[in-house]
Each structure stands twice: as C-alpha cells, then as structure tokens.
C-alpha cells in the first residue's frame, strides 16, 4: 500500500509543480523567452497570502485571491516594463533577444528577492492552513487537509486555464499569437495584449502555487528558487511551449521524486530531475512533446 500512497503524494506535488510550469511554458510559447523571475512570482504569492491571512487577519480563503491578484499584477508589470522592448520597435537587435531576456529577468529576480528581504525581512513566515485538518486516511492514502485543499484548488485552476485557452476568444487569440505573431497581428489580434494576458496569467498561477504551499513551505525571500528550478527542469522535459507536455512532465517529476526519495535516496531527491533531464537532452533535445525546430 506504500506504493499507492507514494503515487498519490507524487501526483499531488506534480499538480503544484504544474501551476508553476504551465505559466512558464505559456510565456515561452508566446515570447520564445524564459522568465527567470518565475520563482519570484511564487515567492510574492507566498508572502501576499501569509501577510493577508496571518498579519491582516483575512480569512485564508479570501487571502488566496489576494495572492492571485498580486501575482497577476507583477506579471503584467514585468511584461509591460521589461518585455515590451523584445518586440516593440527594436527591429535591429534580433541577435541579442535571448540574451536580453535572460539578463533582464535574472536581474529582476535578484531585485525582487532583495527588495522583499529588505522590506519584509529575511525571516521565514508560516502561512495559516486553508483546511486545518490533521493527516487523515483516504483509503490507503495518508494526506493532510492542507495538501488536499491545495491540490483541489490547483487542479481547478489548471483545468480552468486549459478550458479558457481552448474555448474563449482570448484563449484563441493567445494560441494564434504563439503560433505566428505576425500572422495574428495581420488578422487583427493585438500581440501586445495577448502577451500581457499571458504574463498576468502566469504570474497569477505561480503566486497561487506560492500561496497554496505557504502553510507547508514557509514564505522567505529566497523560497522561489527551489520551485523555479523544478519548473525549469519540467518545461525542458515536457518541451517548451507545450502545455500538455508541461502538465505531464510535472506529474511525472512529482511521482519520480516521491518514489526516488523512498527507494533511492532521500538526501539526493532533488537531483533525480536533473539526471532525467540530462538523459532526455541527450536523446531528445526538443523534450518529450516539443517539436523539432528548423533554423533558417
């Protein structure tokens, strides 16, 4: 029965990884850049939730939307202030695109970590639980109330995002811009608005992950590094820009770590993802679901 419990817990972690990875993957899909400040969206969500619920005394369920709003706002600002030059007017710097995005988002991540460290303080803070139920057993699975609530909320958001991308006008516009920026703009879609929407959504999802995990992993200025590294591994595994790929890779990594921690080594559980990543890159550099690109 241990294996069922491990599988379930792996999937639970996987859902929370997916909240991070899906946003990162969408950003890559639409702008072809990696957001190295993604972990800091998580960190800000974790703090927004903790401060709203613990210090201001708002109900934890109402603190969740606060965290989502903060993440969305920061995501929007990131796109507006730092990403616009990638496609607005700078026609001559095609060569330095990737480098600009790496440097700017990496510096933005350092800026946010140290700003929070200075303003809120370097001490870690625990967020109050959403469901204050101790560990219970659902059949063979042992699970705490908080993990159950977090998984439920995470699943709802991922399904909602997937449906929105597929069926709403905004979602279709985002897909169109991801496929062909120029073509979409010829069809009357505003690529800048679609990019803003994607960054806001990605920020909101990462912040939600931070908020949901705040009662389990305390909020601290550098708490974002760990989930960010996991989601980088995931998007490469799943194929950058592929949403189903990143969801599947998230679940796979969660399960792999959960089994590996018990059967291989607990101390080195965080290294399994990298080992798999390097193996995958050797065989399929485009990831599990990525398309092989052609350089022209």
């Amino acid at each position: 029965m241990l294996s069922v419990d491990l599988l379930a817990n792996g999937l639970i972690i996987g859902v929370l990884y997916a909240l991070m990875a899906v946003g990162l993957s969408l950003i890559f899909g639409i702008l072809k850049v990696v957001n190295f400040a993604h972990g800091e969206f998580y960190m800000l969500g974790s703090y927004a939730y903790t401060i709203a619920a613990a210090s201001l005394g708002i109900s934890p369920w109402l603190a969740l939307p606060v965290a989502i709003a903060v993440g969305g706002l920061v995501g929007w600002l990131t796109e507006r202030l730092l990403m616009r030059p990638l496609y607005a007017g700078y026609s001559s710097w095609g060569l330095m695109r990737d480098e600009y995005a790496v440097v700017v988002t990496f510096a933005f991540s350092i800026l946010l970590v140290n700003l929070v460290d200075k303003v809120v303080g370097p001490y870690s803070q625990r967020g109050p639980a959403l469901l204050d139920v101790p560990r219970m057993s659902l059949g063979p699975i042992m699970i705490s109330g908080q993990k159950l609530a977090a998984t439920g909320a995470g699943l709802v958001m991922i399904v909602a995002l997937a449906l929105a991308l597929r069926y709403t006008l905004w979602g279709k516009q985002i897909q169109a811009v991801a496929q062909n920026r120029l073509g979409a703009s010829l069809a009357g879609i505003d690529p800048a608005r679609a990019s803003s929407a994607v960054f806001s959504a990605a920020g909101a999802l990462a912040a939600l992950a931070g908020a949901l995990l705040a009662p389990i992993i305390n909020a601290s200025p550098d708490v974002g590094a760990f989930p960010a590294v996991k989601s980088y591994v995931i998007v490469v595994l799943g194929g950058m820009g592929s949403m189903p790929g990143s969801i599947l890779a998230s679940l796979a990594l969660g399960v792999l770590e959960s089994f590996g921690a018990v059967y291989v080594s607990y101390d080195y559980r965080d290294t399994f993802g990298l080992v798999i990543l390097i193996l995958v890159l050797l065989v399929r550099p485009q990831g599990l679901f990525g398309e092989r690109g052609r350089v022209v």
Partner: protein, 311 residues
C-alpha cells in the same frame, strides 16, 4: 580610420594596464580587511573573465559560473582534508575537476541553444550546490569546510591571485587574436553562417565552455586557500547573478569590461553593505538599465565617448 584602428589595437593592452594599477594598490591599502576585499574582487574578476569568454565572445549564456568556482574550491578543499595533498596540487586538481565536469556538461548542453542552455546550466548549478550541501558527512554541508592556508601574509596572496588573473588575461588575449577567437565570435554573431563556413560549432562552443569553467575552478581553488573556510554558498545562484551583473555593467565582449565591472561592483557592494545591505538592489536595477539602454556596458560607453572626441 587610421586613428580608429590605432585605438582598436590599443584596447587589448587596457586590461594589463588596469591590472598594473591594481598591482600598485597594496602601496596605498594596508588595511587587512580592504586587502581582503580586493582579493575577493580579483576572485570575481577571474570568474567574470571566464564567463565573458563564453557569454560575451561566444554568445552562450551559462548561468552556472559560480557553481564551477564552488566545484574548484571543494575539489582542493576535500583533497587537502582527506588525501592530505599539498594545496598547490589541490589548486591544479580544482582546475582540472572544474574543466572536466565543464567539458562533460558542455558536450551535452552545447548542442542546445538559447533558453535551453540557460535553463540546464541553472538547474545544474542549483543541484550541484544541493549535492555538496546535503553530503554533510563528507563535506560538512552548510557548516563549511576548513581548508589549509598557503601563506601567512595577505599581500603574498594578493600577488598570487593577481598573477593568476594576469596570466588568464594574456591567455584570453592570445586566444581571441588567434583563428580560434575568430571562430568563437563567428558563432556568437551567426551560428548557422559559421557552420556553413566550416566552423565546428559544437566543438568550439564546448571548448569555450570548458575554458570558462576551468577559469572559474581556478578562481574557486585560489579562494578556498585564501579564506580557509568554504561553504556551498559559493555556488548560490545569487553569486552567479553577481558575476553576470559585473560583466553586463562592465561591458560584455570586451576584455577590460569584466575586470572593471568586478572591482567596481564588489568594492561598491562592500561600501553599500555598510550603508544597509542595499547592494544587490542597486546592482540589479543597474543591470536592468544597462541591458535596456547601454547594451555595451561601461566599456561601450567609454569607447563611444572616446570615438566621439576623435570624430
């Protein structure tokens, strides 16, 4: 045009002139603390020069420079502690280990480009740090590892690290003036065009990656015997971030840029630490502004100002 060319041929000597000034600094700075700050600045200047070869001249963004310094530091530290070898051999071993791991990682990641490369090296850096931090029975984890020192006097250390830095600068200068330097820059400017002209892109990118990790390993190994206490914090992502700040502010793709950047950023950060620990906030803002508006860094600004006067 002639004057322009004269200026361009002068630039390679700027780094050595700068190091010449650095060599004279101990005459003015006698305080042990500030001498230490300068030695750490040179540690960062070494890592920055190596990273600049990779990022500035070859166009490959690794996010793991500090992790390779950590690998160099731990290689010599562990060998001195457990095998009891001489620190000098340990330093050589640190360089070799960092270069070897860099070459293996480079073989894998240099087939990737752009974001994949940055992501994989960042994951590698974080996981290398976790492995060292979690192997406490062997490395003493976050408590830190005690490493034997080399000399009593800080001034001797100062000139040892300066000598290493000067040697690396001369090496880089010779490399960049050779055909290999041309291959590297052609890869930076257009990988596909370089490949179509017969440049073995993967080989030269791996070579640049290996060299840059070897230089980082050298920096780390020298630092280990200087500080006599090393911890996994050497490999923190923030440390790599600091290296990137130094190169971007100083000027990517210029030899003197990373040197100026390293000294400026590290000495300033010591000053700002006393003011209230705002150093990383200031540098992160500066890097965003430089990346956005002054893409060639201080070196580029200086070059533009100089050429403005000539024209």
């Amino acid at each position: 045009m002639a004057r322009l060319r004269a200026l361009a041929s002068l630039t390679p000597w700027l780094p050595l002139a700068f190091l010449g000034v650095v060599a004279l600094l101990p005459l003015a700075v006698t305080d042990d603390y500030w001498l230490g700050v300068l030695v750490v600045s040179m540690y960062f200047a070494l890592i920055s020069s190596g990273w600049n070869l990779l990022a500035g001249y070859t166009g490959q963004f690794s996010l793991a420079p500090a992790a390779f310094a950590m690998i160099g530091a731990y290689t010599t530290g562990l060998l001195c502690t457990y095998a009891g070898i001489s620190p000098w051999l340990g330093i050589v071993a640190g360089v070799v280990a960092a270069a070897l791991i860099g070459m293996i990682l480079g073989r894998i990641v240099m087939r990737l480009s752009g974001p994949y490369l940055a992501l994989t090296t960042l994951s590698f850096a974080e996981i290398a740090r976790l492995v060292i931090a979690n192997s406490y029975s062997f490395t003493r984890g976050d408590l830190g590892l005690n490493v034997p020192g080399l000399f009593e006097s800080r001034t001797v250390y100062y000139y040892l690290v300066l000598g290493a830095l000067a040697a690396v600068q001369v090496g880089l200068m010779l490399l960049l003036r050779s055909p290999a330097g041309l291959y590297l820059r052609s890869i930076r400017d257009d990988e596909v065009a370089a490949a179509s002209r017969g440049v073995d892109v993967v080989f030269w990118k791996t070579a640049a990656f290996t060299l840059s990790t070897a230089v980082a390993g050298l920096a780390g190994a020298l630092y280990a015997h200087f500080s006599e206490l090393i911890s996994p914090e050497l490999g923190l992502i923030t440390q790599s971030g600091l290296v990137i700040c130094m190169v971007v502010i100083g000027g990517m793709g210029s030899l003197v840029g990373p040197l100026v950047g390293a000294f400026l950023v590290y000495v300033l950060s010591e000053v700002l630490r006393e003011v209230g620990g705002v150093q990383l906030i200031v540098f992160a803002l500066l890097v965003i502004l430089f990346a956005r508006f002054f893409r060639e860094g201080l070196a580029g600004l200086a070059r533009r100002a100089g050429l403005g006067k000539l024209a």
